[in-house]
């Protein structure tokens, strides 16, 4: 099975000027002469969210939401929420022991379950507690993710949008509206002086209703919440199966490294290398705000849309070396982030990057957290993860995204 595939450009970028080399993509993302041009069709799901607003609006929204990513908040999410949930998700797997005594699981589903509650906590969705409620919530988030990436869908786009809007209405009734109601009541108590600000939940919805902006429409918190729910789990759920596949191949070729499956620094490097090669968001479109001439002489007219293709840019030989298309956890690339454009770039750099890479990523001058990739990978190896020799992984056919649809594994230590 080919585990590193070339990007299939989706139909929605056909005919658009596009960039595939690292330097030009970097220049466009950093330039203030462009604005966000992605998510045109998915406006009903992400419109006016942090992802789609630019410049001053983006700065102000980011300023409002930044406290969610303070060091103490990241430590809380990781230690108090993520680690117990990983343990609980693995314990639930034990209920699926086969007649041969082995525990098997679909890694795609398992990781989505692990991430569901952490995304609920950071966003401010209550009631994701029991296994049944977590399943229901995870399914809603997956569907919202389908709507939010409708541009990449291989299905009829209008049908997808109609279907997901209907599902979103159910999500509002079951999860979103009660969560908002509880937060608004707490904010009311706080304003009356009945509770302290520290007693308010630390999540996106609380921040938005506490600092309500009259320019916002009533549905904006729902779209912002959808962004957080989808984005906070997307990178990790996308990356972990790829990471496990690459590490299985690496350990086969380098058996001397097998014990490093418990080495946090090695796993960190493997995680960075995985998201460099398999980006959760493989392309981003930008719209020129004025006539622009790039460093390489490319001319772009005001209002023109251009596409930055992150997958080929992250495999640019001139930056990542002659073996750029290969997985190498020991890769050293001077003056470039080890994950390249996995979290975008410029002011639109993913606000939740530190949730995934941790605060002690190789580029952070700080000790703190390890992030979701390292913590989940460690727990999986501790559970004895091996690829199922009789049931091979397969890629999804529902999207142009480079994602596994099924990833059967055996958890030998459970």
């Amino acid at each position: 099975m080919e585990t590193i595939r070339d990007m299939q450009p989706p139909p929605h970028i056909e005919g658009i000027k596009h960039f595939i080399d690292y330097a030009t993509v970097d220049e466009v993302l950093k330039s203030k002469d462009f604005r966000q041009g992605s998510h045109q069709e998915s406006q009903p799901f992400f419109g006016d969210s942090l992802l789609t607003i630019d410049h001053n609006d983006h700065f102000e929204r980011r300023r409002l939401e930044a406290p969610l990513f303070r060091k103490d908040a990241l430590e809380y999410y990781e230690r108090k929420e993520l680690l117990p949930l990983i343990t609980r998700s693995l314990e639930e797997c034990e209920q699926n022991r086969g007649e041969d005594g082995l525990v098997r699981a679909d890694l795609c589903l398992l990781v989505r379950n692990m991430l569901a509650r952490i995304s609920a906590v950071t966003t401010g969705i209550d009631g994701v507690d029991t296994e049944e409620r977590t399943d229901a919530f995870r399914t809603y988030v997956e569907q919202l993710g389908t709507g939010a990436t409708v541009e990449w869908s291989t299905e009829d786009h209008d049908e997808v949008i109609d279907r997901i809007l209907s599902i979103r209405a159910d999500f509002v009734k079951e999860f979103f509206a009660p969560s908002v109601e509880r937060r608004c009541a707490l904010i009311e108590q706080y304003r009356k002086g009945e509770i302290a600000e520290d007693d308010l939940p630390r999540d996106l919805l609380t921040l938005m209703y506490l600092h309500w902006n009259e320019a916002w429409d009533d549905e904006l918190p729902l779209r912002e919440a959808a962004l957080y729910l989808v984005a906070s789990s997307q990178t990790t759920t996308h990356a972990i199966p790829h990471m496990m596949m690459h590490l299985a191949e690496w350990f086969q070729a380098h058996p001397e490294d097998y014990e490093k499956r418990f080495d946090r620094d090695f796993l960190k490097r493997a995680g960075h290398e995985t998201i460099r090669l398999h980006l959760p968001s493989p392309a981003l479109l930008r719209i020129a705000l004025r006539d622009v001439t790039l460093s390489d002489g490319t001319e772009i007219s005001e209002g023109e849309r251009v596409a930055c293709l992150f997958t080929p840019a992250n495999r640019d030989f001139s930056v990542f070396g002659d073996d750029a298309k290969k997985f190498d956890p020991y890769r050293e690339v001077p003056n470039v982030k080890p994950w390249g454009f996995a979290f975008g770039g410029g002011e639109h750099t993913c606000i939740g990057r530190t949730l995934v890479t941790g605060l002690s990523a190789r580029t952070d001058n700080d000790e703190g957290t390890d992030g979701t990739l390292v913590n989940i990978a460690l727990s999986l190896f501790d559970a004895g993860l091996e690829l199922d020799p009789n049931d091979h992984p397969s890629f999804t056919e529902l999207s142009y995204h480079d994602a596994y649809g099924r990833f059967p594994v055996v958890l030998r230590n459970l």
Binding site: K30, R62, R63, F69, T349, N365
Partner: protein
């Protein structure tokens, strides 16, 4: 905290020159000729600590330490 305990740095590897830090603490940060963030005062007054904290969290690439 005494003045000397703050030591502001920008990691040039990850700075992308968004200028958010300049908007929060213009006394300490500027955008240099290379388009990236530049530290004007490496050891600013401790009165600026809260603003430095906000700048470090708000920086889209988390390039600031202090």
């Amino acid at each position: 905290m005494s003045e000397s305990e703050l030591h502001v740095k920008i990691d040039e590897l990850i700075c992308e020159g968004t200028g958010y830090c300049v908007r929060i603490v213009p006394e300490v940060f500027a955008i240099g000729e290379n388009g990236l963030g530049e530290v004007l005062q490496e050891r600013p007054s401790s009165e600026l600590e809260d603003q430095l904290e906000e700048a470090s969290i708000l920086c889209p690439t988390r390039a600031i330490t202090y």
